[in-house]
Assembly symmetry: C3
Homo-oligomer: 344 residues x 3
Amino acid sequence: MQASASDIARVLGGELIGDPERRIDRIAALAHAGADAITFATGARYLGALRASQAACIIVPPALREAAAARGTAIVCADPYLAYARLTRWWVAQARGEFLPGVHPSAVVEPGAHVDPGARIDALAHVGAGASIAAGAHVGAQCEVGAGAAVGVGTELRPRVVLAAGCRIGRRGLVHSGAVIGADGFGFALDAGAVRWEKIEQIGAVVIGDDVEIGANTCIDRGAIDDTVIEDGVKLDNLIQIGHNCRIGAHTAIAGCTGIAGSTHIGARCTIAGAAMIIGHLEIADDVHITVGTAVTRSIRRAGRYSGVFPFDDNAAWEKNAATLRQLYSLRERLRALEKKIDS
Amino acid sequence: MQASASDIARVLGGELIGDPERRIDRIAALAHAGADAITFATGARYLGALRASQAACIIVPPALREAAAARGTAIVCADPYLAYARLTRWWVAQARGEFLPGVHPSAVVEPGAHVDPGARIDALAHVGAGASIAAGAHVGAQCEVGAGAAVGVGTELRPRVVLAAGCRIGRRGLVHSGAVIGADGFGFALDAGAVRWEKIEQIGAVVIGDDVEIGANTCIDRGAIDDTVIEDGVKLDNLIQIGHNCRIGAHTAIAGCTGIAGSTHIGARCTIAGAAMIIGHLEIADDVHITVGTAVTRSIRRAGRYSGVFPFDDNAAWEKNAATLRQLYSLRERLRALEKKIDS
Amino acid sequence: MQASASDIARVLGGELIGDPERRIDRIAALAHAGADAITFATGARYLGALRASQAACIIVPPALREAAAARGTAIVCADPYLAYARLTRWWVAQARGEFLPGVHPSAVVEPGAHVDPGARIDALAHVGAGASIAAGAHVGAQCEVGAGAAVGVGTELRPRVVLAAGCRIGRRGLVHSGAVIGADGFGFALDAGAVRWEKIEQIGAVVIGDDVEIGANTCIDRGAIDDTVIEDGVKLDNLIQIGHNCRIGAHTAIAGCTGIAGSTHIGARCTIAGAAMIIGHLEIADDVHITVGTAVTRSIRRAGRYSGVFPFDDNAAWEKNAATLRQLYSLRERLRALEKKIDS
């Protein structure tokens, strides 16, 4: 794959400075970009690196226009990081070449499944009865698409995804390997007489909107009665657990290792950092931002940033503080007693 | 699938009030149950919703008998939530139809495996040499059953489960997609001379009792020397890690994202909330309840509820409190000094 | 499998005491070792158990030589735990028998892949175009090796591993079931105008050194531009998330359920306990030890032990302390006010 600076300026819609024919063979980070690479600088803190760079071309914001022009070929864009994102998508699409539809001979498509002639099913995939695979959809090698499940136009399941029976994903989605969509929610009734758990069959499904990305080995459980819902534009990282009956609002992004227990509803445009945990049956408003490792144990009604993680320290300091923490309530009582004594 | 109110009353063993022929097409939540649905109300807090409901039939406790009778068709059961659980199981079993045994032609069964004629092996599954699949067992599509592993009567492995060599699961179990039973425990000896880790081969297996459910992408490691043991009736949610040589007591339920390190023994009838973590070589008594996100770092000898999670707050408040927390020990010392000063 | 005490002494290079012909049928833990088993004792705290043991042979350190000799057959080694590790490896290798190369007829090897005649590909595995499988490599049943990926000499992929396109693992590695190596990193640019996330294609790969072990359902993401790097001798437990562009230093060991966000570099010989979380773009020095459940939120420049987890307690005590914790800053202010008052 190669392109000229003017090809890329056209794709990004930015102003080209310097040599329009400058040939570009790859995308690189600013620190490592050689004379064959295009890179980007997002702001003034990268000015030194920009001036020193040997890159074939640098994407810069208007504020760095002069400095970039003094160095060599550049493309000026309002938001270089967004431009870089778009460049990667165009670059990869060009490099990937034509989408080849068809069903690999080793794949198993059960009778009654509908595979659009414009869809692609890779080696050793299994498509259940009554499943529907739309045009431009790409079911990767070793995937499992359950009975009656549906994959929307242009959605890609990377190798070894499970989309269980009756679950649906919309258009232009991307699901990474090992993700399990539609396992049973964790639902049991305690049979107190017999001291055992009686399973509640999970008769809902998982319904996923358009433009959703789901990370590797992430799990989204099917609803107990109604469906679990992932709205348009949601981005989920790896190893996330989403319980039954959750609803994740549009364009919310959740980082890895986070768990969200059943029946919690999360608003739109939230960001949830890694290893957060949100208990069940909560309501989280739109535009809420949860920081790393925070346990959310009650509903959040107002937009804002919320945190709750133990500050780490060297082990000796932590030990002393943690031991004191276990007496914190009594310290407060002692302080109160002192205050009374002094005020009296 | 459809049934009459009297069919369902018979299954649940409850008292039928109203129209025995009332036709029911689906199960729904109380808030959404239409005229074709059966639903349930567990107590007086749902009285308003019960009175307003258009549901075909409502399962109620004796205390709501009058209110339900005034509304329409109902079934009175001692524990409506448990009755609802049983209803879902009966409903799904009816809808599922007859169990069809047989081995899909795309499955690979190695020579020396024993597959009961009453078992079912789905597409692209692999059954290793010497493995044993009992009558009524259902090995889902793309599953891997290792050499010498055993699946008990009536146990279902959903698509893409790994039951590794020599591991055994009992009767009436259910394992969700992506679960890995029998990977090696994390065991290494430090070769201090060479500053490297020497692997300890994990020669134990995983032994799982009857009526156990295991969630999606959950991992249970094989024992180092002896076996890792999961007792009867245990329920494990998704993305749980259970280390080598653990023993999980009967009817204990563990929620998602929890990790239990090696050689820890957990008693019977415990509940462990999501994202808890329990370090290795501990003993946890019967009837212990651990709340969300708690790190258990020493043995628990007495039944009860245990917690330890940082209370979350808006970020500004958290920052101030977390910063102070790092000086907590010195605050205690200052308090002590003040107390001395005042008392002297 | 069976061996004599002298066979094993020869393998371990230790001093044999007692009966060189003593027959050994299995390896067992000291507490359960019967007359057919070899076991080990690492120090004086096991003296009672050693004296009482019926084991065929016991591996002991020089300090326990006398006690062991008084009991029966023994092998004296400088480090019995390391000797036990080596014994398990030799034992399992003997029991496993000869490595049988070849491609199972149900596996799918795409045109252009290179499979060494000395490699083994098991049932229903899929090897993509341009992939390379070296001599002595073992690709387990149902594995997915992507286009252009490479598996080094003697490396084993257990059943159902994903090694995505272009990713490489070195020699003598071991990857457990469900691991996903090379899913896309979690990279998006916020298109603030449209209030949506624009995907950044992840054009780096994952490069893994020699002697690396990777646990079940662990995820290692491919780099955004440059590669994610796992150095020689690293040991990763189950259900770990390693973000794009991370570098994990040689011989570092990481326990289960830990998450490491993107672009963080971890030094050599570190140990990271379970359920830790490390945010992105940090530098962690060599020889750093992180304890269980610790959230690392800033770089660590010095070797040492670091902690930060809320001490758990019975629920009532925790509730009082956690409530007080939310007023901690104001307690400090009140203490300061008291100090002033008294000093004035």
